[in-house]
């Protein structure tokens, strides 16, 4: 029902056509909502939804970000993941047109929007603190964008109702924002962005002001809606789990640069460098000398990263947690220094060949817990070892 409906079905193969389609967008075709449901892959063939080319932003002498290059496909869900201060939110605001750039070019479809004001970019945005209009009821908040587009009132009412249904807020249409909980506010904010059928949806830490339970629910709901609408989405977060669960691809940002653009799985299991490994998971970072006994060879790379859950423990020759990997490193003797119960995971700190290793195992049963001082053998899955440049 939402988004992308104004682009012709076999959309824009030439720049001209796509551009024309984009310009046409604000005047939304009234029959648009008919072609509802699954348009997920409609635009797979029409090139990128967004291209970022050499974006740079300075604030005084410091680079907020620089050399941002990325291509995002239609319908992709991209997460900008990074610690606070890495420039991810500013990048999002620059794409929205809320912050000027010092260099670079932003293409949506094939249209250069770098110098368009925010209201003409066809971009929707959801803010961390909702930014609902306190003077308007839920329905009027959602209708705001349509009123700006001069959509006739009967169509407006229908589309507002539709989108409120989508975010399960149709019963709250006549409440004011201050009467809603945080999670409900964010749903309304989402509906408000969706109703104008933006070409791209930007979300700036939309879940971080909510409490854990609601965050999980809304996370799944956002992803579901995004998938069903085939809406190209950029989602900013500092939460690794959020990024892993929601994204088609993750852009890992660090100090104003994109360290790695990859699938969540690849970002997690194959970090490109030490910074990426430091931010994702709980990698044990060893240098080549320290790692040699575990690997059975001297790595050429400066640093070796081991995932705690890809290390294998054996007690008295019996593998703990069953089968071994195909390509396994030599067993190295170690001692359990302590264990911590993280819920479904038991995390062991193991002193092993002069280094301290972290090993994660499933918390299957209290009977299988290894006591402090237990002698173990540690094996490495050689296929899961990451050799990092330094």
């Amino acid at each position: 029902m939402m988004a992308a409906t104004t682009r012709p079905p076999s959309s824009a193969t030439t720049p001209k056509a796509s551009q024309a389609a984009y310009r046409q967008q604000p005047a939304i075709a009234s029959g648009a909502t008919a072609a509802s449901a699954s348009r997920h892959t409609d635009h797979a063939s029409s090139g990128n939804a967004i291209s970022l080319k050499g974006l740079a932003k300075r604030f005084g002498d410091t680079d907020v970000f620089a050399n941002i290059d990325a291509d995002i496909a239609h319908g992709e869900f991209i997460t900008l993941l990074g610690p606070s201060g890495c420039g991810k939110s500013t990048l999002l605001r620059a794409i929205a047109g809320l912050t000027s750039l010092n260099a670079g070019q932003i293409l949506v479809g094939d249209t250069d929007i770098t110098h368009l004001p925010p209201q003409r970019r066809g971009v929707g945005m959801v803010f961390q603190h909702y930014a609902l209009f306190p003077n308007m009821k839920v329905a009027d908040n959602v209708a705001f964008g349509l009123r700006m587009q001069k959509v006739p009132s009967d169509e407006r009412a229908r589309r507002v109702d539709e989108v409120l249904r989508l975010v399960e807020m149709q019963d709250q249409a006549h409440k004011f924002p201050h009467q809603l909980s945080g999670g409900q506010c964010q749903r309304v904010a989402l509906a408000r962005s969706l109703v104008v059928e933006p070409r791209v949806l930007l979300m700036d830490e939309p879940l971080s002001a909510l409490d854990a339970r609601i965050r999980k629910h809304l996370r799944d709901q956002i992803r579901e809606i995004q998938t069903s609408l085939g809406l190209t989405t950029l989602f900013v977060t500092h939460d690794q789990e959020e990024a892993m669960l929601m994204s088609d691809r993750v852009f890992l940002m660090h100090q104003g640069r994109i360290l790695q653009q990859d699938s969540a799985e690849a970002i997690y299991t194959r970090p490109r460098d030490e910074n990426a490994a430091g931010f994702m998971g709980h990698y044990c970072l060893l240098d080549a000398v320290e790692a040699a006994p575990l690997l059975g060879y001297r790595s050429k790379a400066g640093r070796v990263a081991l995932r705690p859950e890809a290390l294998y423990l054996s007690v008295a020759g019996m593998p703990l947690g069953g089968e071994h990997p195909e390509r396994v490193g030599p067993g190295v003797h170690g001692v359990v220094r302590r264990h911590r119960l993280l819920g479904n995971i038991v995390r062991y700190d193991i002193d092993c060949a002069g280094v301290s290793l972290t090993v994660d195992t499933l918390n299957r049963s209290a009977r299988t817990l290894l006591p402090q001082g237990q002698q173990v053998t540690v094996h490495v899955d050689l296929d899961e070892v990451q050799e990092l440049d330094t």
Binding site: P134, M136, G145, A189
Partner: protein, 282 residues
């Protein structure tokens, strides 16, 4: 505004449960109310009394004083003049303060700090003091406004400025203006439209109170009006002062009229503001 008001104050249960059992605050409220309301009640009694001598209660009730007042052309003229001056000064200050406060809040934080210092100045210079200064300033040359009613509008503007600025700046702080503007712009509104549709309505409470208080202050202002223009342009307060010699009942009726007038004005202002919002949201 509405938001802040309806947000339940986060208090520890003790406090609330205590207040359920005994209410010392009702005493405080009662006391303060009495202190503030007593003069008004006495005035009302006087205005309605046929005669009120040494007894505790008036001798009889009448509307004669009011009727006499409302049929006096001099009173009506003074009333109109006061309204004109007050509305003029307020319009001028709103038109100037709103954009400056908005800029200070969203773009130039340093401007806000400067303004906060500047607006203390009129407080530091009491009315009689600055009226002397203003008299000197406007007495000669190109600014020969002394004695004309026009001198009152810039003067009142100066007086009202600090109060308006603080009230509006506080309202802006309570609302996350930047985000609201951003959100409205991304939904297709230009900056001006965004301001009027999304920011201004949410400043309503603060701006409204500022305007109301300023208005009632200006209508009640006496020192400047008397010193700068005097009897040549008799405003309500100057008239009231000149009528001091008249019957106490008559002046009381005048006072009550003035009070009821400001009350009605506030009520209308409130209703209008709510109406506007409902409309805008439709």
């Amino acid at each position: 505004m509405a938001h802040a008001d309806t947000m339940p104050a986060h208090k520890s249960p003790t406090a609330a449960s205590l207040s359920a059992t005994f209410n010392p605050y009702s005493w405080v409220v009662g006391g303060v109310f009495a202190v503030l309301a007593l003069p008004l009640v006495a005035t009302l009694g006087y205005a309605l009394a046929t005669r009120w001598g040494a007894t505790l209660t008036p001798d009889g009730l009448t509307l004669a004083w009011f009727i006499e007042l409302w049929t006096t052309p001099r009173f009506l003229a003074a009333f109109a003049r006061s309204l004109f001056i007050a509305v003029g000064a307020l319009a001028l200050s709103l038109a100037l303060v709103l954009p400056v406060a908005l800029l200070a809040h969203t773009r130039y934080p340093r401007l806000d700090r400067w303004m906060n210092t500047l607006i203390l100045m009129p407080f530091a210079v009491p009315p009689v003091v600055s009226s002397v200064g203003l008299l000197q300033l406007y007495a000669g040359g190109p600014l020969a406004l002394v004695g004309t009613p026009w001198i009152l509008i810039p003067t009142y503007f100066t007086i009202v400025l600090p109060f308006m600025y603080r009230a509006i700046a506080n309202s802006l702080r309570a609302v996350d203006v930047q985000s609201l503007m951003d959100a409205a712009q991304l939904l297709g509104a230009g900056p001006v439209k965004a301001f009027f549709l999304v920011v201004l309505p949410n400043l309503r409470g603060g701006v409204q109170i500022a305007v109301f208080l300023s208005f009632s202050f200006l209508v009640g202002e006496f020192v400047f009006a008397n010193m700068l223009v005097g009897t040549r342009f008799e405003t309500l307060q100057v008239y009231l002062n000149n009528m001091r010699g008249a019957s106490g009942h008559f002046t009381s009726a005048l006072v009550i009229t003035l009070f009821v007038f400001t009350l009605i004005l506030t009520w209308l202002g409130n209703r209008q503001a709510e109406h506007t919002i409902t409309e805008a949201a439709r």
